[in-house]
Symmetry: C2
Amino acid sequence: MGRRIVIIGGVACGPKAAARARRRDPEAEITIVEQGEHVSVGRCGIPYYVGGKVNDIEQLFSSSVGIVRDADFFQGVKNVRVLVKTRADRIDRARKQVHVTDLTTGATETLPYDKLVLSTGARPLRLNIPGVDLNRVHNMWSLSDAKAIRDAAWSGEVGHVVIIGAGLIGLEMAEALLEADIPGAKPEITVVEAMPHIAPSFLDPEMAALVTKHLEAKGLHIRTGELVQRLEGDETDAVRRVVTAQGTYPADLVVAAIGLAPNVDLAREAGLTIGVTGAIAVNQCLETSDPDIYAGGDCVENMSLINCRPVYTPQGSVANRHGRVIGNNLTGMRDVFPGVLGTVIFKVFDFTVGRTGLTESQARDSGHQVETAIVSGADHAHFYPGSGSVVVKLIVHVPTRRVLGAQLVGEGDVNKRLDALVVAATMKATVDHLANFDLAYAPPYNTAMDILHHAANTMRNKLAGLARTVTPVELKDRLASGDNLVVLDVRTQPETEERPAPYKGVTHIPLGQLRNSAGALSGDKTIVSFCQVSLRAWEAQRILEAEGLSNVRFLEGGLAAWPY
Amino acid sequence: MGRRIVIIGGVACGPKAAARARRRDPEAEITIVEQGEHVSVGRCGIPYYVGGKVNDIEQLFSSSVGIVRDADFFQGVKNVRVLVKTRADRIDRARKQVHVTDLTTGATETLPYDKLVLSTGARPLRLNIPGVDLNRVHNMWSLSDAKAIRDAAWSGEVGHVVIIGAGLIGLEMAEALLEADIPGAKPEITVVEAMPHIAPSFLDPEMAALVTKHLEAKGLHIRTGELVQRLEGDETDAVRRVVTAQGTYPADLVVAAIGLAPNVDLAREAGLTIGVTGAIAVNQCLETSDPDIYAGGDCVENMSLINCRPVYTPQGSVANRHGRVIGNNLTGMRDVFPGVLGTVIFKVFDFTVGRTGLTESQARDSGHQVETAIVSGADHAHFYPGSGSVVVKLIVHVPTRRVLGAQLVGEGDVNKRLDALVVAATMKATVDHLANFDLAYAPPYNTAMDILHHAANTMRNKLAGLARTVTPVELKDRLASGDNLVVLDVRTQPETEERPAPYKGVTHIPLGQLRNSAGALSGDKTIVSFCQVSLRAWEAQRILEAEGLSNVRFLEGGLAAWPY
């Protein structure tokens, strides 16, 4: 075919598109233009480089067998020309040319193309406050940011770190720095988030609260609902303090991770359509508004598989899948990238946190009629060593019973339940499907009924009106407002001693005695039962209702999901 | 409603049905009749009790908070009457009565029912050979079997164990006994299997061979294709030898785990329909041929979700889900159990082994037009500590591109990929869906493209005729038959030193030099390229084809999936 393909941007989507195009078409002339020093970078590994789990930064742009994926590699193995430290200045769509500048020599070049790919990526949103130019104030994005932060943290001069932004990158950085094996005294680390809770774009409040509790138990300081107003430095222009409306925090190193913006300047200047999210608009074939120009990776917007709306979800995994679709389409296919769920996973200390699809608030904001269920349980059989707890929040579309989204938190195996839910939500599974999936069971790997089965069944019980619940948020609010509730602990005596109820005035009747003791409970007040995971509390609801009490509810998820 | 419900069998499905019926109907009279001593038993934990990971057998019939689920528990908490050590002798369908005998006192009782549930379970197939009545010859099924085997293994008198049957239970037992912390010299353990490879009902030969290699590396002796002919004992009638047509193996303890048969005598005598698998036939509501009698658990046959054929898949997980559906239907619902995939997972030492859906041989035997792909890779980013290898075999229906089944083996996170495939196969996902699932990615949990994405893409490349491969079995056979191949190792020099190619006469050209060295390769012979996981070998195929060589193939899965 002998086509000339030019790709602007060499981090993830670009190299993938180049490699795929090459495998399909041995004749094409393929050129990657990359402004930075490196191509094919595993940027998601940066927090682990900063924290010292990855010691050699080269690992982030090497293959798994240690081959550095540089320009020579791409030329020798892929027969792809790579121009690093080269900036694309302008796209001339009429002439089908890209004007580029070699940033080392200043030389310019004009690259003709038959097909062009924009994989220009994203950039970190910059703080727009006084003090951002002080020393030791860094955005967290590039390899050079990572080196600077790591060098500062290891310098022995950093007693306090403030991370601005409690999103994915901010939280991963907080974990990395706290776990880093830095000689001398560990720095104190404070995470400041402007929104009312951490991870606001992918966790609902009660799930975020569970994560916050874990972060604080590990020694992080979390300040939410605080907008940073300015950074203050010393006479050497090194940052020393972070000031919010609520307080002042000492800071010898500030890491800003407040979000990403797509790099769309080239596309906009070339007259390509920019979508409502501010990222480049593409169709399902990842074509821009110019059919000779494809775009993928962090510079484009995606379509949500849940509600078909455009979303901006910059992620390395998505960028790689984009690259393959573009590589196919550059070489004569009409391949389709169906869309995304906004799946997110991250590790913070002993917890894994994941979400896919819509959060409850996103689903309600979209106008959907939703029901939710919070369920907690063990990730594998209690009698097999090493089992851990998982809390699942399921969000379901009531009219269709479809799974719209889920959030999972805990030290147990969140990872596997999340991917099962990804597949389920993509395939438009209902909660009834979810209750019956023939998931793998053996004691080292699962309980006989998976926690996803329990979550689905709880949801079905709620939808049928059989299970009547209060959520953790509801119970917290009702307790705070002085509602006259009977809070009923149905755990065993040893359990109540091991983990006392987090609220005074709890009535304690072990489940085994409840049938004989129901008469002692008044029928006037709302009774809210709980246990460790609320399986027994659910049983208690049904027992008390059978005894004629009409206003009984159980606490969703039990103590295992109680974050307050 | 006040219905009388009698449930025969109290291990898994029965108690679940009782508990669910009770939650839905506070008035029903519910009675469980159980022949054994215990109810609600986590029998899947037995190998871990035998091996000592679970020390107290009570844990297997206790809840996660340590409550023993005995008759008193069921009466007090569930208001369910449980008759243990009680045998159901006969069902009188005309009078709607069950005749039972108290095995302790010999007293008989007649239990009237409105609805009856058969959850009579399964029993181990018994060896029908000379010597089975010798001492220290045990089936592996009940808690008393488990106690006897554990006592024997710990007695200090067992130097050699032979396990007959390399299915799920046999292999779990082999692992448990080899890992058991038995004082003194570890027993030598031999597993004898009559079929040509281990786990014959859920693994294809090359996947079984990978597991066998691991088992042997851990010190187990595996003998396949050997039918046991007789057991020989000493003057005390203790077993001492296992004799097959091929050899004689010393044995101071023999554990037989050759399969299960459903307990259908009661059902058959009552005139209920028995299915083609020999288990009780039920419809999707789990009704037997008598609409007042439900059946579930190990005594019934299931429908395969892949091809709608009846299958016999006795499993605790399925039994629990059956129980819930039956509990619903006993109390006025028309709930449906959709069917099974035959999902299996088990742990053997550092390996997890899983399968769902059909194996290749089962799919071909069913008459499907299938394509397969074997792919290996890391379970998470190579630069994050602790990554492990996973080998996936995907089986796809060519006309519809649907996933018919999958097998997974390795020390990496098999568990999560298996459940994602379970959901995918249930929802009738195609290989194109699989290639695009928005699976969770962060370096501790995954690679940017999941191994399932790679497997799907390899399959798509094969279906498109772009990827041309040989499977491990094919290469082994072609090498054995003296085919004149060029076997081309495209790994780096250090890799070839660390893990030499498992075959002499291999040509070694690192991928980076292949474009310049292609001329050295003859076009007459078939070239089979390989590397560690065959990503580079696939690249090599395309490079050599671009250089004009027409008969190039790569080894599926690379060395990581090479079991020979």
